[in-house]
């Protein structure tokens, strides 16, 4: 296993540009989310965080630049292919599957291999069923969703839905995890649990990148911080020093 913090072993963005019309929402961003570390991306509204996030996750294609996962160029891959390579994401607007139970929601994340469609049509179990089951159970326990496992997802409150989305991503055993405001709508106990889980994941060798508005949470969790404003990274480095930087406070000031 690669040592924690090794550059390039996690997710790397090089010169990513994404334009809408004539405006560059993301304008040449370099970013490194190494394995075993929690990296945070902060910045005022409209700074281009979400657009960058979409480019990294595969929901959007960058107009220029590269996205590398463990050294492999994934810039042209669609999002589901990235997910199968171990790059998982959560959404700012919760993306739960209303028609499935909590456990089934998590299971969807656990069982995305290409093969087995023919077997499925014949009613035979898909390959790798036991692994998927085990991963589902583990993710449910980790996020304290065991008690509601058979509930339809549409009966869960917001906070639990956020954890459900995270559980779905965890069930896929991610190498890199992209989290879009994971603490929004969580109560204190849930936020604490989230922090513990994210720390544990990093310790196990996952690379985490989170977009977060809650600077307190960032200060407590993140190893490194990138600050974006107007499509560019204006500051980067270890959390404490970046958050103390007066330029950051200036860019942040309004929000």
């Amino acid at each position: 296993m690669t040592a924690a913090g090794t550059p390039g072993a996690g997710l790397v963005a090089r010169g990513v540009v994404r334009r809408f019309g004539g405006i560059a929402a993301v304008d040449g961003v370099d970013l490194d989310a190494p394995i075993g570390r929690i990296t945070a991306l902060i910045g005022p509204n409209g700074a281009g965080k979400s657009t960058l996030f979409d480019c990294l996750a595969g929901a959007a294609r960058p107009d220029a630049g590269q996205v590398l996962l463990a050294g492999r160029d994934i810039t042209r891959l669609p999002d589901h292919a990235r997910a199968r390579l171990g790059l998982l994401r959560t959404f700012q607007q919760i993306a739960a599957f209303q028609g499935l139970t909590v456990a089934e929601n998590v299971r969807v994340g656990a069982e995305q291999v290409h093969r087995g469609t023919g077997r499925g049509l014949l009613g035979l179990p898909p390959p790798g069923r036991d692994t998927a089951r085990a991963a589902t159970e583990r993710a449910l326990r980790l996020l304290d969703l065991d008690a509601v496992r058979d509930w339809p997802a549409d009966r869960l409150p917001t906070g639990a839905l956020r954890l459900l989305e995270l559980a779905r991503a965890l069930a896929a055993t991610p190498r890199v995890l992209l989290l879009d405001e994971p603490a929004a709508g969580l109560d204190q106990a849930q936020t604490a649990r989230l922090g513990t889980v994210l720390r544990a994941l990093a310790a196990e060798g996952t690379a985490l990148l989170l977009v977060e508005h809650d600077v307190e949470l960032v200060a407590r969790l993140a190893d490194a911080v990138y600050v974006m404003a107007a499509g560019r990274v204006i500051a980067r480095g270890p959390t404490a020093s970046v958050l103390a930087d007066p330029r950051v406070a200036a860019a942040w000031g309004a929000t």
């Binding site: 929901a59 209303q98 028609g99 089934e104 906070g159 639990a160 989305e165």
Partner: protein, 643 residues
Amino acid sequence: MGAAGLTLDLALAGLAVGSAAALSGVGLVVTYRATGVLNLAQGAQAMATAYLLRELVVVHHWPLALAAVCCLLVAAPALGVLLDLAVFRPLQRRGAGPAETMVAGIGVFVLLIGAAVLIWGTAPYGDAPPLVEGTALAQPGGHVLRLDTAVQLATVLVLATTVGLVSRYTRFGVRLRAVVDNRALAQLAGVDADRISSAGWAFGSFTAGLVGVLLAPFLLLDPYGLPLLVMETMAVAVAARLRSLPVAVVTGLALGVAQSELTRLRPAGQLLPLAQAVQTNLFVVALLVAALLPWSGGSDDTGLALPGGGRGGRGATAARTACTVLVLLPLGFHADDLRHALLVPALALVLLSVVVVTGYGGQVSLGQAGYAGLGALGTALLMSGKVPGLPALPAVPALLLAVAVTVPLGLLTGWPAIRRRGLALALVTFAVGTALSRLVFDQPYATTGLTVSRDGMPTGDRGFYTVELVLLGVGLLVVRNLHRGRLGRALTAMRDHQAGASAAGVDVPRLKLLVFMAGAGLAALGGGLMALGGQAFDPTAFDPVQGLLWFATVVVAGADSAAGAVLAAALLVGLDAGTAAGVSAVVVGALATVLGRMPGGLAGLARRAADRATVPARPGPGQEAALTPLGRRLRERIAERAP
């Protein structure tokens, strides 16, 4: 007469249909701009008005002018306002999505057609009165300009110009544009959005009526032909991207003229029948092209994730038992009743194809009748030995081979579905179904000299019905496997949240192709059985209007309920055989228009009733025994704060 003279004559002749199409386009665009709804029922409104005018003039001997005023200026706008008040405004109030609105529109369409069949029957009338006599108006250089054509053309231009001027220069127009931009905001600013949308519906319905009355004299008036023709002219509105009136007018006129000019093309040899098919159906081709061109409209719509569609659930066992009993019953029927019942398993398979594509996959598909027709035609062609290189096959191999060939053709609608959702996808699938019907099933080159028999299978009705049941069982097994396990979870994920499913690693494009191919196969199997049951290939059975009825039926029954589809098939066949023709369409249409108040359809109703009956057994918020850890913590905290 020289070539140039002929060109001019054909152009003048084409203007008649062209101006009607342009008028239809103007109506659709105006309704869409005022209400945000693409009026899918327009064709049926046109048909209803044309029937009404004929009834008043031919049967009751009213003077034409009085009857026309009554139909066009009173009845048609009143129908529009009624639709707004009774169907579309409640949906808008509830914040219903485009999918529900679309289903309601199809419901109105089916309802009006059913009502027409009930009142006037399906026999075509050839005596629809023309509004304006077709006397020659002027003959510059020997070219005849008919009075009716001139009046139509003038009407279109005047209406389009008036609408354009009103929306640009009057207070009403400003309000209209405000409502279109942002309804809620416009209401806050004191605009009466309801009045605007009522006016939009009244105008749209008036133009629909005018289109119907103008077109009816050119063709035989029957409940299916005219509505479909008007729906084909949606090509004009789609080409105008539902925005531009000038584009709609120009496209309508140009298509009319082009269709007329094309009659001069006579390619030699094998191309001739195909060319003729295109010539008479240029609007179908145009609709297909316009819907397939990249279009932002509807692409960011949600899919058809109709609310209330949980998987499994209570009441399912009861529905399954009812299904089993119902499909086994006909085995004990008398010969006559059994012959009617032969249609049930076949129709059930076609409806199941809609369940798979729309209910499980969340993809709107209005073209399943086309695949059913392909299955029927394929079976017939293979049995008649019309396929080069193959001998005439017995029934079963022919049916299975036809299904196998139709499965990959599911890509015809599956491929466009990858990038389209909602309305845009609905239009493409409808266009594909219509194109198949008009360019293949209706054409002599494909359908002459076909013989369909039950050669090689039980020839008696009872034996054949048993075979049908076996095949229905196989179909149900495939459907069940699509709803369970890994495939079922992935499909439901795609239906409920496409981006989320994709991010979780679900290969959404591949899955869409899979559901459309599975749907095509099921529909083809059902269609083939229909042909074998009737021992003939009947192109009218696979009319696109039938496809709309089938789609509405499945959504009403509860889009993701396989048992519901089988029950619905039995009900459709039973209603039409046991009562008058058209009753089933009226029932389905009426239910579809109130679907907004009945989420999940009839299956949803049944599920909720079953849930209520067994409430204590089901965990839910607010019950002590089943609080989540979060709930328990919340309760503790509330208890702490309480004085």
